[in-house]
């Protein structure tokens, strides 16, 4: 069981995420979509930001997360130890985010922020799909 996180801290984290997306947009003109950035970095994207820009953004993610762990709060990471599950999940996330042109950041944070119908529907779909998957794994089969 996880300790509760105060809503104010969660909202502050969200503002930081959205603020970072704003900064990226206003300074470089690019949408902060992590799946697209990763695809650019490994050179399998047909379109997208320049390689250096994407690489700099992607490298920044663990640096920022590490800084918070060092100076604010050490996260109590809990994650499955099943290798097959991790592999299947990774394949689905990689394939799905490219087919759907975005993930929680590009569609969820940036797309909803500009009220794009595509992004609103994509976010509703992956939320519903995620909720259904958790329901099946936690309450129907696994438990």
């Amino acid at each position: 069981m996880l300790e509760t996180l105060p809503p104010a801290i969660a909202i502050a984290g969200g503002l930081l995420i959205g603020g970072a997306a704003t900064l990226l947009l206003l300074l470089t003109g690019r949408i902060a979509g992590v799946s697209g950035m990763v695809a650019t970095v490994v050179r399998i994207a047909d379109a997208g930001p320049p390689w250096r820009l994407a690489a700099a953004f992607v490298v920044g993610l663990p640096l920022g997360a590490g800084a918070v762990a060092a100076f604010v709060r050490e996260p109590n990471i809990q994650v499955t130890e099943s290798v097959p599950l991790l592999i299947v999940a990774g394949l689905l996330v990689g394939f799905g985010t490219r087919l759907g042109n975005g993930c929680t950041s590009g569609h969820g944070v940036c797309g909803i922020g500009r009220l794009s119908l595509r992004s609103v529907l994509a976010t509703a779909t992956f939320m519903a799909s995620g909720i259904a998957t958790v329901f099946v794994t936690r309450h129907l089969v696994g438990a």
């Binding site: 996180l5 969660a10 930081l16 995420i17 959205g18 970072a20 704003t22 900064l23 947009l25 300074l27 470089t28 949408i31 990763v38 047909d46 930001p49 250096r52 820009l53 953004f57 992607v58 920044g60 993610l61 640096l63 920022g64 997360a65 800084a67 996260p75 109590n76 809990q78 994650v79 130890e81 991790l86 999940a89 990774g90 394949l91 689905l92 990689g94 394939f95 799905g96 985010t97 490219r98 087919l99 759907g100 042109n101 975005g102 929680t104 950041s105 797309g111 909803i112 922020g113 500009r114 595509r118 529907l121 994509a122 939320m127 799909s129 995620g130 998957t133 958790v134 329901f135 936690r138």
Partner: protein
């Protein structure tokens, strides 16, 4: 180009810091939000709310600018019409997300915590991205879908 890399690095650091502050780097926290039939954890909703609000302000502000500070133009997707690949892709992504609790941003940010699971996940995710590209390159499956993100 180097000029744009520095702001991108700073944005990446802040983005990763926000993910960690809101505990989105923790798969158990994410699964707690998706588990509406169990002990529901609202943290993801608060993080998402704050993030959407701040990104909306940024988007509205960008519309008043002719060009970004370190670039020639804004690259904002103009296509807003949903199509089948969008919904199919989002549904597959949601399945993978719900299986483990990782999505791309938190998984990459979480590489710093020394958990082997994040590395296995990210490696598989990149393979999945490559498989999608291979599938899309097959003439029978070719379908144009402009990028959103």
């Amino acid at each position: 180009m180097l000029r744009a890399s520095v702001p991108a690095l700073i944005a990446g650091v802040l983005f990763g810091a926000g993910l960690a502050l809101g505990d989105m780097v923790n798969p158990a926290r994410v699964l707690g939000f998706l588990d509406i039939a169990g002990a529901w954890d609202p943290v993801l909703a608060f993080v998402m709310g704050g993030a959407v609000l701040a990104s909306a302000v940024g988007y509205l502000f960008s519309r008043r600018l002719r060009q970004p500070l370190f670039g020639r133009s804004f690259f904002i997707p103009e296509n807003r019409r949903p199509d089948t690949p969008l919904i199919a892709g989002a549904a597959l992504f949601g399945m993978g997300w719900g299986l483990v609790g990782f999505c791309p941003g938190p998984a990459i940010a979480g590489l710093v915590y020394g958990k082997w699971q994040a590395w296995v996940f990210v490696a598989s995710m990149i393979v999945g991205m490559g498989l999608q590209r291979l599938a899309a390159a097959r003439p029978a499956a070719r379908q144009s879908s402009p990028a959103d993100a």
